[in-house]
Symmetry: C2
Subunit: 134 residues, 2 copies
């Protein structure tokens, strides 16, 4: 069912500093900053050729990642995103297996303009999983 | 400098149960368990087509991931691994930028039989980064 790993998201306290570390220290292909006001974050994507790293910084204390940053002030790996062809079928299969979809259980439009859901990290070994319909 | 994201490693308390969740709940391509005694872990790889998820379970309390599991008993994202063509050059560049390579600073032979180093997570926003020479 799941397809490619679309990205791994890393929440950071200072987006410009994090991007500079990846660019200067690792020679990574670092993109331009984008502000996603409706998602409460600013983001920079790093293209690794086969997938992407999404660096995230909270816009303010109401950001969806604000609680994570309060627990991890230095930053940390926040979620991984897999591509799926049929999100409704994926939700049906996951919930039949006992996993919980966050929120009201229905897809929302994600940061890339496509339908997404997040699965409860307690149902996947402490890993927050995003599924994006492509 | 860095190339492909080779894998993301997720440490779990029960490898068979974690593998079953990915196989049944997400329909993932889950491989066979391998015991890497010299690395203190048993592992199962999940092939996502473009990269891999490496599920890790500590063999015992002396495992390199034992301290992580003590802090995160339910499991969690442990590290990400990038491929590099020249590990010596990568170490030189990273240390010139102020990042710290763990251990004695020299490559070790990693779980895939290739030279690897790990970079201090405090120098990359709480993310433990492995570099593997390919």
């Amino acid at each position: 069912m799941i397809g490619r790993l679309n990205h791994i998201a890393i929440a950071v306290p200072d987006l410009a500093a994090a991007a500079a570390r990846y660019r200067e220290g690792l020679g990574a292909q670092v993109g331009q900053e984008q502000v996603l006001a409706e998602h409460g974050v600013r983001v920079i994507f790093i293209d690794t050729g086969n997938t992407k790293i999404e660096l995230l910084q909270a816009l303010d204390g109401n950001s969806p990642i604000a609680a994570f940053m309060a627990r991890n002030p230095g930053g940390g790996m926040h979620h991984i995103c897999f591509e799926v062809a049929d999100l409704a079928a994926a939700i049906k299969r996951l919930t039949a297996e006992g996993a919980r979809v966050l929120g009201d259980g229905n897809p929302k439009i994600g940061a890339h303009g496509r339908p997404v859901v997040f699965v409860h990290p307690k149902d996947f070994d402490g890993t927050l999983i995003e599924l994006e319909e492509v």
